[in-house]
């Protein structure tokens, strides 16, 4: 919250400049259903830290969490300034009809467009945290132990994270075709270890999403590529961890964000081809790369674009408060976490203070010809020339 001093050129002496953060005012936060508590509270914390009043609309698809928030927030926080408004799309639309000083949205691109269109009417700045197809590049790692750790981390980012219903989950894996068998074996072994039964696995949020996921693997040309799992229970909304090997690239499963427990593995001739593969597609929220090859790491960093990039692990970048979290391109815009949250919900106001001493005549009209050279010296911070001019020792 402390204003930060900025350097002011000597020329403007005596002057003082600083950047003063101030709250934007009254902000609206839309949370998603997959991490309904976390994704509600994290932006809320930023908005409060920055000094705003807030309305939080949790997702109606997670009603128990939504109710929890509605009851708890009023108990623990200042209910004059922090309100929870649960409800569905109609409530969302009513909220969007109002004038806000900032809107923070986590969810799908489709709904983000509705939010941004409403914001445009009032010139309200928005931050949209979307998703995308976040790939994991799996290079040959040499050591079996490293491979085991790497695969556990991939499984962690796919199935351990809400059964794949996570914006920073691994959507699909890219691997060299010669290493695919090793990867698949390790994936199967890890799944068996983590999920001896299905009781530690989240279910699909609702029937609509269950149906959507079912449709992704319904197509015979896609179903034929399932090499593990594939069973679905529409009563309990559970889908078994499913692995596919080289589904058709034009199938929906390879063009839409999966957001579920289905993992396509795409094989390439060489791992470097993964860079072009990713570049040909919309920018994801995160790119994961498992490799010890420093050259490959540099190339991935320089040649791909994503919200974040994590080497040799998954998901944990979310816990690094010194790193900004947010998307780019199709995966969204606006970044938060840590100080970035504070900044996102603040207006950083520059304040320049001058005094009445030292007033240069040459900055005022009439614009006589002699004044211009003085002003040029000013702009070039040419103190010597300025001094000489003032002393009359330098003309043009």
């Amino acid at each position: 919250m402390t204003p930060c001093r900025v350097p002011i050129p000597l020329l403007a002496f005596p002057s003082r400049g600083e950047l003063v953060p101030e709250p934007l005012g009254v902000v609206l936060i839309f949370a998603s259903w997959n991490f309904p508590i976390g994704v509600s509270l994290e932006p809320l914390i930023g908005a409060i830290a920055a000094g705003n009043a807030i309305v939080l609309k949790p997702s109606e698809l997670a009603p128990a969490s939504s109710n929890f928030l509605a009851n708890s927030v009023s108990k623990y926080l200042d209910s004059m300034l922090v309100k929870v408004v649960p409800g569905g799309p109609d409530v969302g639309q009513m909220l969007l009809d109002q004038k806000w000083d900032k809107i923070f949205f986590t969810g799908s691109s489709r709904v983000a467009r509705t939010v941004m269109a409403a914001a445009a009417k009032h010139l309200t700045p928005v931050a949209v945290e979307l998703g995308g197809k976040s790939p994991a590049i799996f290079d040959s790692l040499g050591s079996p132990r490293d491979r085991k750790v790497a695969v556990e981390r991939i499984v962690g980012a796919k199935w351990v994270s809400c059964a794949g219903q996570a914006c920073i989950g691994v959507d699909y894996v890219l691997v060299e075709e010669q290493f695919a068998p090793v990867l698949i074996d390790q994936l199967k072994a890890t799944l068996e270890k983590f999920y001896p039964g299905l009781d530690c696995l989240s279910r699909i949020i609702n029937e609509q999403h269950f149906q959507r996921l079912t449709n992704l693997i319904k197509d015979p040309s896609v179903a034929a590529t399932i090499i593990h799992g594939g069973s679905l229970d529409s009563e309990t909304l559970f889908i078994e961890p499913t692995i596919l090997l080289d589904p058709p690239l034009d199938a929906d499963i390879m063009n839409e964000e999966i957001f579920g427990p289905l993992l396509p593995i795409i094989t390439l001739k060489k791992i470097e081809d993964s860079i072009e593969f990713i570049r040909a597609r919309p920018k994801p929220l995160v790119i994961y790369a498992f490799t010890k090859d420093e050259k490959l790491k540099s190339r991935i960093t320089a040649e791909t674009s994503s919200g974040s990039l994590t080497f040799n692990d998954t998901m944990v970048q979310f816990a690094c408060d010194e790193l900004p979290f947010g998307g780019v391109g199709g995966s969204g815009f606006g970044q938060y976490h840590g100080k970035f949250s504070f900044d996102l919900f603040s207006h950083t106001k520059p304040v320049l203070r001058r005094s009445f001493l030292l007033d240069f005549t040459f900055r005022y009209p009439p614009w006589d010809a002699w004044k211009l050279p003085f002003m040029r010296s000013v702009y070039h911070f040419d103190y010597l020339a300025l001094l000489l001019r003032v002393l009359g020792l330098k003309r043009r």
Binding site: P9, A12, G17, L19, L24, G25, D101, R113, A117, A120, L123, P125, V128, S143, R145, D146, V149, A150, E152, Y195, P196, C200, K297, T301, E303, S305, S306, G307, S308, L309, T310, F311, D313, V316, Q317, A319, C320, D321, E322, L323, P324, F325, G329, G330, F333, H347, K349, P350, V351, L352, R353, R354, F356, D359, Y364, P365, P366, W367, R376, Y379
Partner: protein
């Protein structure tokens, strides 16, 4: 360009720039520096032509053209050239026990293909300045200058291509049809300078592709004047900030003054004296005042003055020369708050002065209006100054001077609320056109098996401690756990 520039042609331009961007051409420091140097050269080699174009469009006095457009644009190039290497460098950030061992950095990268739409009042600067930021950040860019400033638009369209890399930087001239064709395309960022009305249209167009924006808009910039000031200096600074800046046609020009009833007569006198000193007894004939940009804006300003409740409040000036589109510096005293001149952004050489009993009470009045791009306060009272900074929200603030914040590359320049979103100048321009990519590197040591199912209460306990950043759970996870569990 201009005739027949439709959606298909716009799509072609974007596709070409996207292809060039993909090739990596704009990424190197060398390429970016070469473009910036070329722009600086263009400015140096064509100062006379730029000045002439600005005179053509706005009767802008050559000194103002140099001060407010040419010199500032050149300085923006040179500042970026000096700092670019540092700006481009990834920034290391610390990591916590939660991800130990790991290293993290923030890597700036260009968005890709960006659109810059410029305004007519500082048509050269407001075109070149954002383009400098876009290039410094490594993007390809399409610039659409304002068609209202035809000579400057024409100058830029003719000359910029001779200096910069045309495979990456393009100028598209035109008006609404061309702008609409451009706005239909998919951009990675859009930078718009202009009115709030068109700002809404630009933002609505950006919705289709969820394109992030910077909108540099305007508003009614208030100037509060206390009675304890050095009135001569204050008057000079207000006058040059208002009329010495494109005759009030500037987004950060003082729009209206608030002062105390007791002080108003002195202030009005000081302003009158200063105006005469700067612009002579016949300001309509002064070469040091810009004209109004076109007849439509002239009529708009004339109507503001002709409104019944307003015309009687003119205390100085008011003369108009429709043929030459000039309006004399005009002061008005105690205009009713419901008059149009007190509701719309004036953007012209008319300065209403509102009087109050107590300056501090006017803070609430200012806050009840849309947030302006700038707010000014002239005072020697530090307490009042502190309260002003704390209470009033504006894009930027300046105490005891006017407009200078625009010239400082260390201060972000941009609005808040109705006056805009996003900021630029100096490093902020580079940031406005960059994506800050978070890069976290881990290795295969330090595995925390309790992240994974099957879940047990003990695993949960260790994880909680880890996320809270405690060392003991980390040690437990790294050392104790593997020793007694089959990993």
């Amino acid at each position: 360009m201009g005739k027949g520039f439709d959606g298909a042609r716009a799509a072609d331009v974007v596709a070409e720039l996207r292809e060039t961007f993909r090739s990596g051409r704009t990424r190197s420091l060398q390429w970016r520096a070469a473009q910036l140097k070329a722009i600086a050269r263009m400015i140096d080699e064509n100062e006379a032509d730029i000045t002439a174009a600005l005179y053509n469009d706005l009767a802008k006095p050559p000194t103002e053209s140099i001060l407010h457009e040419i010199a500032l644009a050149k300085e923006a190039c040179l500042f970026a050239l000096k700092k670019l290497k540092r700006w481009m460098k990834p920034r290391k950030v610390s990591t916590s026990i939660t991800t130990f061992p790991s290293s993290a950095k923030i890597v700036p990268e260009p968005f890709g293909v960006v659109l810059v739409i410029s305004a007519w009042n500082f048509p050269f600067l407001l075109s070149i300045d954002p383009v400098i930021g876009a290039i410094a950040a490594g993007n390809t860019v399409v610039l659409k200058p304002s068609e209202v400033a035809t000579a400057t638009s024409s100058f830029i369209a003719k000359n910029l291509p001779h200096y910069v890399d045309n495979s990456c930087i393009r100028v598209v001239e035109g008006s609404i049809p061309e702008a609409s064709a451009l706005l239909e395309q998919k951009w990675d960022k859009i930078f718009y300078t202009g009115s709030a009305r068109v700002g809404r249209i630009v933002m609505a167009a950006a919705v289709k592709h969820l394109t992030p924006l910077v909108l540099e808009l305007g508003g009614k910039c208030p100037v509060l004047v206390d009675s304890n000031v050095d009135i001569k200096v204050a008057a000079k600074r207000i006058v040059v900030g208002k009329w010495g800046c494109n005759s009030g046609q500037a987004c950060i020009a003082p729009d209206y003054i608030i002062t105390t009833k007791a002080f108003a007569p002195k202030l009005v006198d000081a302003l009158k004296i200063t105006l005469e000193k700067f612009y002579g007894k016949d300001p309509l004939g002064s070469a040091d005042l810009s004209r109004i940009v076109n007849s439509s804006h002239f009529t708009r300003l004339k109507n503001l003055l002709d409104e019944d409740k307003v015309s009687g409040t003119i205390v100085h000036g008011g003369q108009q020369d429709e043929k030459h589109l000039k309006i004399a510096p005009t002061l008005l005293l105690d205009v009713p708050s419901d008059a149009s001149i007190m509701k719309e952004e004036i953007f012209g050489p008319l300065l209403p002065i509102i009087t109050v009993d107590d300056l501090e009470h006017s803070f609430d009045v200012i806050n009840s209006k849309p947030k302006p791009l700038a707010a000014y306060l002239f005072t020697k009272d530090h307490k009042l100054e502190k309260k002003f900074v704390k209470t009033v929200s504006a894009g930027g603030m300046l105490i005891n001077d006017a407009i200078l914040q625009f010239t400082n590359p260390h201060l972000p320049f941009g609005g808040v609320g109705e006056s805009g979103m996003g900021s630029y100048h100096g490093r902020f321009s580079f940031d406005a056109f960059s994506h800050k990519k978070a890069v976290l590197s881990r290795c295969f040591l330090g595995e925390i098996p309790m992240r994974y199912p099957p879940y047990t209460p003990l695993k949960q306990k260790v994880l909680r401690g880890l996320i809270a950043g405690n060392v003991l759970p980390l040690l437990h996870a790294l050392v104790v756990w593997p020793a007694h569990k089959k990993v």
